[in-house]
Assembly symmetry: C2
């Protein structure tokens, strides 16, 4: 069994982007980071994005409107950033306060600045295999982990557990693309699937993204499979100072001995998300200058 080291791969990508950005003529890429309110998890995520931007040489523009911001005010802010030629990418940190429609907000961002890849137009481009679009960071990160670990999907059976818009569906669409590293047969399973274990046991590559701690057990995995664990779940743990520990959607102790390769949690898919956001921002900068 081989661990897929997301921290290492993400660091490699950040280093590559730093080299690319240093070689760019003209102004640096610029990422607008919009965080509404002071949700502690959001504060920490945005901080991480700001720090990684700085490491790479991406300018970040921090905009932190109060939690009382209305959808109309947020739209006005987004319109301003859309119109600003000095801004290449716009990230609006999720979750947004109650009363604000996230899909509408993500759709308000100009598609060519939508570095989170949540815009309807970018989802459509993913289905169309149009590479001018932006792919959501988590599924893009999964594909990058697989490629950089030497796992080709071509002709393989990829089983995706979960049909979310953020992970499951885009991961399925990526895996089935007519690309030399993709070309997978893809099955999407979810909460309504019957005989789930019989399906997951067919997976050459199993992508677990259902948000249920340690849901995938050894009987659900084919020996020799590659397992990508997207889950980040907090489970109570009295032995930890924080009172909880992080666990994935996979029961790592029993599943990992079976696998050819597996991502740990933390340190697997998680670190890739920020790296892919940075890659999307550098891509937006290049496309918007072209």
């Amino acid at each position: 069994m081989e661990l897929i080291d997301g921290n290492k791969i993400a660091a490699d990508i950040v280093a590559e982007l730093k080299t690319r950005v240093a070689a760019l003529p003209g102004r640096r890429p610029c990422l607008a980071l919009v965080r509404v309110g002071e949700d502690p998890a959001s504060v920490s995520y945005v901080k991480k994005k700001e720090q990684t931007s700085a490491t790479i040489g991406i300018e970040s523009r921090l905009i932190f409107p109060p939690v009382t911001t209305t959808q109309a005010e947020l739209f006005a802010l987004i319109d301003q950033l859309n119109a600003d030629p000095g801004v290449d990418g716009i990230l609006v940190q999720s979750p947004l306060p109650k009363g604000i429609n996230e899909v509408e907000v993500f759709r308000r961002i100009a598609a060519h600045k939508d570095v989170d890849g949540f815009h309807t137009m970018n989802l459509g481009k993913l289905a169309q295999e149009d590479d001018t679009g932006f792919v959501a960071c988590t599924p893009a990160g999964i594909m990058e982990l697989l490629q950089r670990s030497g796992v080709s999907l071509s002709g393989k059976h990829v089983v995706v557990l979960g049909r979310s818009l953020i992970v499951g569906k885009p991961a399925a669409l990526l895996a089935m693309q007519r690309k030399s590293w993709a070309n997978a047969t893809v099955t999407v399973c979810h909460s309504q699937t019957a005989n789930l274990a019989a399906l997951t046991r067919q997976a050459d590559v199993l992508i677990a993204a259902i948000g249920k701690p340690e849901f995938v057990t050894a009987d659900m995995v084919k020996p020799g499979a590659v397992v990508i664990d997207v889950g980040v779940n907090r489970v109570p743990d009295a032995t930890k100072k924080s009172g909880y520990r992080l666990t994935g959607d996979v029961h790592f102790p029993t599943v990992s001995p079976l696998c050819a390769k597996i991502t740990p949690v933390p340190g697997g898919v998680g670190p890739m998300t920020v790296a892919m956001l940075m890659a999307n921002t550098v891509k937006a900068h290049a496309q918007n200058r072209a």
Copy 2:
């Protein structure tokens, strides 16, 4: 074995639309039918769309620019139709002459008039399960055939053979939606799939859309499955006056005895396409007036 009668179901839909349109206040729905050149198959398809529009009470606007039309000229025409408040839906008949980029043309049509459902934005809305979008007519027709034949997909395993943008991918996205009649586990197979028969034999509902005549044989189908045959292939047949016969992607003589239900070719999925185009036009008319 029960035949799913696409002619009958399409006629039911046309009759329902006719009743709905007759009850509409104000002007009738209007569909612009754009056909570039005189390709005989396109002439016949557009004629059929015009006739069905007339039956329902949809006004059709026929625009037949010459085969020498440039992409820029076609864009100008589409822009005009986009801006025309009297036009609810715009259909540009495929295939377009060489040198014209179809994806770009379909993307030029205003998404809210894209009754063919090929616009990038409408594909994205399908992935987002946003019902304000338009779903491509063939996959929408497949779901309608299943629902009106009493086939619920919930918890079933749907295997889609083919990953085209026009049929395979949207059919997969529809079948996995969180709708009471959908909620299927979905596998997408294609030309690069290994052990194809082992996968198709798992299908409770098999949707064949690969464009290979009689490709699906009895050994690939589970007894009691529902089979939807999307293929329309011409194969040489000396006993026919035309010199050919139409066949689906399924070897009907040997597969049909195994099935709970199956669509014939012709007379299965085919007739649904025009019916769903009409349904999309009536929907566009309602949304554009709202």
